[in-house]
C-alpha cells in the first residue's frame, strides 16, 4: 500500500491537510481497484500509443 500523503509531500504538493486526505482516499481506492486488473494484462499487450517517425 502506497503512502499517498507522504508521496504528495515529497513531490512538493502544497495543499491543506483535509485536501490531502481527500486526494489520498481517492488514489488509494483507484490503486486498489486498478492493480488486480493490471495483474491480468498479458505481456504482449501494448498501449494504443503509436509513435510514427514519418508523421509531422
Amino acid at each position: 500500500m502506497k503512502n499517498w500523503k507522504q508521496l504528495a509531500q515529497a513531490s512538493g504538493l502544497e495543499t491543506s491537510e483535509p485536501d490531502l486526505d481527500r486526494i489520498a482516499a481517492v488514489l488509494e481506492d483507484m490503486e486498489a481497484k486498478l492493480q488486480p486488473l493490471v495483474a491480468r494484462i498479458p505481456h504482449d499487450v501494448e498501449p494504443p500509443l503509436i509513435f510514427k517517425p514519418e508523421a509531422q
Binding site: 504528495a8 513531490s11 486526494i23 486488473l37 498501449p47
Partner: protein, 455 residues
C-alpha cells in the same frame, strides 16, 4: 424552431437569417442574465454574417441546412480575434489567432455564430458551476445544474436561445448536459470530427459534437463537421456518409441491445422506467430488442479516470505554480493526476486496448445499445452527493457513471430526452453504436424521437 424547420422557412422566404439572428440575440439578451449560458455574445459579427447569408440565399448560393442559422460554440473552440477562455482564469484574456476546424466548417456552411457558451472550468467537471465566470443554470429549474462541462451549450439550446451549440465530451460532457437539459447531444466516434483548434483537456478522450433540439438537427450538423483534417493527427480518413435519417425512417432491421448488467444498476426508478419504456417503443417499431451482457464497465470507467487524470495533469503542468488561478474542484483533480505513477497510466492504456477487444464482442449480438444517459435527473446547484436508489453517491461520479466508458472506447453515442420525472425534469437515454456507425444510432434515435412526438 429547429434547424431543419428554419432552413425550410429560409428557403421559402418565410423568414430571413437577419430575423432569425435578431430573435436569437434578443432571447440571449433577455435570458442570459439569469441563465449565464453565454460568456461572449457576438451581436455585431452575427448581424453581418446573417446579412451575408440572406444575400447569398437570394442569389441562389445555398451552403446547406446551416446556412443562415444562428449557432453558438463552447468557449474551448478557438475563434480568431475573439476571446477563448476555456472557462479558466488562466485564459481569461486569451485571444487566438486562428479558428478551430469546427468553427471554420460552421462558417463555410454559412452558420451565424452568435457567441460562445460557458462551461465548467477547463471543461474538467460536470456542474458548470464556474468559480471564475459564474454559475450556469438549468432552464428547467434555475436552482439546478445544467450538467457539464458543456453546460452553457445545453442551457442555451434548452432555453431556445440558439437551435445548436457545439460541445466537447471527454467523459460525458456533451451527453450529461443533454440529459439534464432535455436536449439531444451527439458524441461522434473519436477521429470523426477534427479536434484542431480546440483547447484540449485530454489527448485521447476529447470528442467534439453538437447539442440540438432534435436528432435530425444533430445529424445535419454532423454532415457539415465530419471529415478528415490533416492538422489533427487522430483525425480519421474513413469516408463520411450522409448521417441525416429520412423522414419516417424504419428500424425493423436493427438489433437493439438492452444491457442486462451495469447500465440499469442503481438508477432512479423513474429513469429506469423511462428508458425501458423507450426500448419497448423500439420493439413496437419492429426493432429486435435483445438482452446483452456488457464487459466490466466499472473497470472501463476506472481506466478512463486514470487516463484523464494523468493526461489532464500533464497538459496543465506548466501552470502548476499558479494554484490561485484554479477552482478548488479542478485543483483537487490536477493534484490527484500529478501523483499517479506513469506505470498506472501506461497500464491503463494497455487495459484500454484489452477492453476494446472485449467490447467488440457485444456487436456480435446487437447493432446498438440503449442505456440511460445519467442515473438520475439534474441535481441541485451545490450538491456534492446525490441519493440514487437509496445510496449516496458523489455527484460527479454518478453523472459520469454511464457515459465515461464510451469515451475510453471512442465509440459514437447520442443522448436524447425520453420523458420527465415527478419534478418535471428531463430524463435522458443514450444510444451507443459501433465505431463510425453514427448513421445507425442517429436513425434509431430519430425513429424513437418520431414515435415519442406522435404520443
Amino acid at each position: 424552431m429547429t434547424i431543419l424547420e428554419a432552413a425550410r422557412a429560409l428557403r421559402a422566404r418565410e423568414v430571413s437569417s437577419v430575423e432569425l439572428t435578431s430573435a436569437s440575440l434578443d432571447r440571449i439578451e433577455k435570458q442570459n442574465p439569469t441563465l449565464n449560458a453565454f460568456l461572449t455574445v457576438l451581436a455585431e459579427t452575427a448581424h453581418t454574417a446573417a446579412r451575408r447569408a440572406d444575400q447569398e440565399l437570394a442569389r441562389g448560393i445555398d451552403r446547406g441546412p446551416l446556412h443562415g442559422i444562428p449557432v453558438a460554440v463552447k468557449d474551448v473552440f478557438s475563434t480568431k480575434g475573439v476571446r477563448t477562455t476555456c472557462g479558466s482564469a488562466l485564459f481569461a484574456d486569451h485571444v487566438p489567432g486562428h479558428d478551430a476546424a469546427v468553427v471554420e466548417k460552421l462558417a463555410a456552411a454559412g452558420a451565424v455564430l452568435t457567441g460562445k457558451t460557458g462551461l465548467h472550468e477547463l471543461a474538467y467537471g460536470i456542474t458548470s458551476n464556474n468559480p471564475h465566470f459564474g454559475t450556469i443554470r438549468n432552464p428547467w429549474d434555475l436552482e439546478r445544474i445544467p450538467g457539464g462541462s458543456s453546460g452553457g451549450s445545453g442551457a442555451a439550446v434548452a432555453a431556445g436561445l440558439v437551435p445548436m451549440a457545439m460541445g466537447t465530451d471527454t467523459g460525458g460532457s456533451i451527453r450529461i448536459p443533454a440529459s439534464f437539459c432535455g436536449v439531444v447531444g451527439l458524441k461522434p466516434t473519436f477521429g470523426r470530427v477534427s479536434r484542431y483548434g480546440v483547447m484540449p483537456l485530454d489527448f485521447t478522450l476529447d470528442h467534439m459534437g453538437p447539442l440540438t433540439r432534435t436528432v435530425r438537427d444533430a445529424a445535419a450538423v454532423l454532415n457539415e463537421l465530419a471529415g478528415y483534417d490533416s492538422r489533427d493527427e487522430t483525425s480519421s480518413q474513413r469516408p463520411i456518409e450522409n448521417y441525416l435519417p429520412e423522414q419516417g425512417c424504419a428500424i425493423a432491421d436493427v438489433r437493439v441491445g438492452l444491457p442486462e448488467n451495469f447500465y440499469f444498476d442503481r438508477l432512479d426508478p423513474e429513469v429506469d422506467a423511462a428508458v425501458r419504456s423507450l426500448a419497448a417503443r423500439a420493439e413496437s417499431l419492429g426493432a429486435r430488442v435483445v438482452p446483452v451482457r456488457v464487459p466490466d464497465i466499472a473497470a472501463l470507467n476506472l481506466v478512463g479516470r486514470v487516463i484523464l487524470l494523468s493526461e489532464a495533469s500533464a497538459l496543465l503542468e506548466p501552470f502548476r505554480e499558479r494554484r490561485d488561478r484554479f477552482g478548488p474542484d479542478v485543483l483537487l483533480l490536477l493534484d490527484q493526476g500529478r501523483l499517479l505513477p506513469a506505470t498506472d497510466y501506461v497500464n491503463a492504456q494497455r487495459l484500454r486496448r484489452m477492453m476494446q477487444r472485449d467490447f467488440n464482442g457485444v456487436w456480435r449480438h446487437a447493432d446498438c445499445l440503449i442505456t440511460p444517459t445519467t442515473p438520475a435527473t439534474a441535481p441541485r446547484i451545490g450538491e456534492l452527493t446525490s441519493n440514487i436508489a437509496g445510496q449516496e453517491e458523489d455527484v460527479r461520479l454518478a453523472a459520469t457513471r454511464l457515459v465515461r466508458g464510451v469515451n475510453v472506447l471512442g465509440l459514437p453515442a447520442v443522448a436524447l430526452p425520453c420523458g420527465l420525472d415527478r419534478r418535471g425534469l428531463p430524463i435522458g437515454a443514450q444510444i451507443i453504436g459501433r465505431a463510425f456507425d453514427e448513421a445507425l444510432i442517429l436513425r434509431v434515435a430519430a425513429a424513437l424521437e418520431d414515435a415519442i412526438s406522435r404520443c
